[in-house]
Amino acid sequence: MKLDEFFVTGEPLIYGGMVAIALVTSAIIFLLTYFKKWGWLWREWLTTVDHKKIGIMYILSALAMLFRGGADALMMRVQLAFPDMNFLDAQHYDEIFTTHGTVMIIFMAMPFLIGLMNIIVPLQIGARDFAFPYVNAMSFWAFFFGAMLFNVSFVIGGSPDAGWTSYTPLAGAAMSPGPGENFYLLGLQLSGIGTLATGINLMVTILKMRAPGMKMFKMPIFSWSTLVTSFIIVFAFPILTVALALLTIDRIFGSQFFTLTGEGLPMMWANLFWLWGHPEVYIVVLPAFGIFSEVIATFARKQLFGYTAMVWSMVIIAGLSFLVWVHHFFTMGAGSFVNSVFSVSTMLIAVPTGVKIFNWLATLYKSKIRITVPMMWALAFIPSFVIGGVTGVMLGMAAADFQFHNSYFLVAHFHYVLIAGTVFASFAGLIYWYPKIFGHKMNERIGKYAFWFFVIGFHVCFFPLYFAGLDGMPRRVFTIIPEWMPLNVIATVGAFGMGIGFAIFVYNVYYSYRHSKRETTGDAWGDGRTLEWATPIPIPHYNFATLPHIDQHDAFMAMKKKGETTFDEAKVEPIHMPSNSGRPFLMMAILAFASFALVFEWITLAIIGLIGTLIFMGLRSFDYDEGYHIETDEIKKYEQSARRL
């Protein structure tokens, strides 16, 4: 393979990207060397198995991916506002909408939420860490290297260009030769391993490591949403694993699953993809519901209304999420009976979702609402998400869908649910738990600017697109007719509003780091209700010195009334902790190497990489490291100084 086939050439924007990557990488290497931080990086971050640090790494990666996906989005909006400027050609536009979708769903939305789960769930249920901390580190590095593998495609080998749904036969070897689609398949496969392992890990953690007395139905609602999400992950991700593997085997080893020859069935891909893809939608939205529930209860200063109904509605949504996949391709010709069945099951989902909306409203009803930035995101979520949900029911009617299908109406719908649901929740959750994680709040005034720019920009961007869709504008086109111009120009203005909002948010991270008042107690908002607010600041490595018996919802609220803390000097015992390990990082780096080799169909190198990975699994089997204990003296000393006793 020649060098000019290996690197992508001939596109000024991509040359710019290469220069940017080279500059950022050398800057990072220079800074780490100059400040002698390599050892620190390895000891504190690359080898850590601490759920809090892994969570921070997830969130940082997700923010970087939000930037990348957002840059893709702005490029598309520029192209559609000025279609005659030839900013992007058709090929480049195809690549960008493909990477935008994939990055946002797989490498932004999920890791952001998993990052918050990582940090918060063990704290909410009173656990010292995950059930399997080593596996947790492995999951993170699988996701991280999967994301890197996918992202490197735009400078090496070429990006995938068959859409984030990667429909066959277009995505097959005959019509999309070259490494592009392989990057998609293997990047997703690698990060999928991590997601599945996290799902299992979180399930065991929640089922087995809750604080004494905390029954399932006394558990904070965010932990419940995590448990339900993990259930969906465990049963949906293997389907994606199989779908990706089959297409990989098709492309690299010439099997005939989704081909037009050998009696293959290209439409089976759509079925397999959406059998995972629809549950995936709920994987990214149920944790968002959990976050909003926590934020609304805290700042409405009331117990969440209808806790049990909230839990059961999530369980029902999870069950239904596996029964609606055909609504993504009503027009593929499954026949009216099949379409009717899936139409009804789709509309059924609106019922438990509606229950949740009314429960949030009932929590707010007659409460003394405290307007903070996380609460503003939560309040903006409710009406915005309802717009997305109602248009979803419109799309769910099979007959009407023949009109809406593949139009900007659909594009507007899923951005309304995913941005108003997942992205708003990511901001709400991060700002809400920010003082818990970093020891200081984000500046409220700057946060409000970011909020207003982003939320107004969001509506300005996507509301007109519903009408562009009703006017017949199809999705995934790089040029448009004059009738659609005004709406598209408005949408582009809105998109840049969101971009400014995000930039202000990032500036706020820096500003707050420099100027925010440092927190002295664990209960930063003063209204914390659940157990995560009970720890001192910064959160000790072991999380909880002692735990009281928990017998009601809002455990921390009850503790505050009774004057209890998570430090009862008489009951302190040594705490068992897992040891750090560099092996998760190395193992996943090697697996990423194997995947990279497979992308270019260098089979020998791929096999060498796989053997390396197996060796690391063997090493783990022979590893009888039992961790270490934190002694009582050390715990007492830390708690006394952090609690100023």
Partner: protein, 201 residues
């Protein structure tokens, strides 16, 4: 083991780590079930799509499939005997039954490799048609699981020889027995759903 430990009950459940590992593995098996279910569904959808190539009815041999079934079912039984020996605290008998299980598993693999090579020689390859793609990936995924299980069990044999029976090694042996029985269950579905139906259609 430094974590809290009880002195009674089955060896593998005595530590909290052991209990969590076993629960985690059960959930993993749930995920594996979803994985194999997807492969079976794919196979069923592609059934009969042989594109003028060889059909399963022409190639499947009842004798081979039946022998493989007996080998794997027996190995599941001997694996159960191994766990029974572990519960009785007999390391020697545990090792013996595990080794018998492995030999049976290896013979199964031998037959499967012979079978695949034979089909390929008759023109039924992975690339031949959608049906054979589905067959080789479904049966091959099961075979790959058996292979990994054998490698894993060999590592456990070494650890048992080094460390004897402890709650930690006990948990590990119990978990691989769950895995082995699971592969057996999957094979029963392959035997009936793929071989028996393939032979009569």
């Amino acid at each position: 083991m430094s974590a809290p430990q009880s002195k009674t009950g089955p060896l593998e459940y005595r530590t909290q780590t052991g209990q969590m590992n076993i629960l985690g593995f059960w959930i993993f098996l749930g995920a594996e079930m979803a994985l194999f279910a997807t492969l079976f569904a794919t196979y069923a959808v592609l059934f009969g799509r042989t594109a003028n190539g060889p059909t399963p009815g022409e190639l499947f041999e009842p004798g081979t499939a039946l022998t493989m079934t007996f080998l794997l079912l027996t190995s599941s039984f001997t694996c159960g005997l191994a766990i029974h020996s572990m519960r009785n605290g007999s390391l020697k008998s545990l090792l013996t039954w595990l080794i018998v299980t492995l030999i049976l598993g290896l013979s199964f693999l031998g037959f499967e490799i012979y079978e695949f090579a034979h089909y390929a020689g008759e023109g039924a390859t992975l690339q031949a048609s959608a049906y054979w793609s589905g067959f080789f990936v479904l049966a091959g995924t099961h075979g790959l699981h058996v292979t990994l299980g054998i490698g894993w069990a060999i590592m456990l044999l070494i650890q048992l020889a080094q460390r004897g029976l402890t709650p930690t090694t006990g948990t590990k042996v119990f978990i691989i027995s769950l895995y082995w029985h699971f592969l057996d269950v999957v094979w029963i579905f392959i035997f009936t759903g793929v071989y028996l139906i393939g032979m009569v259609m």
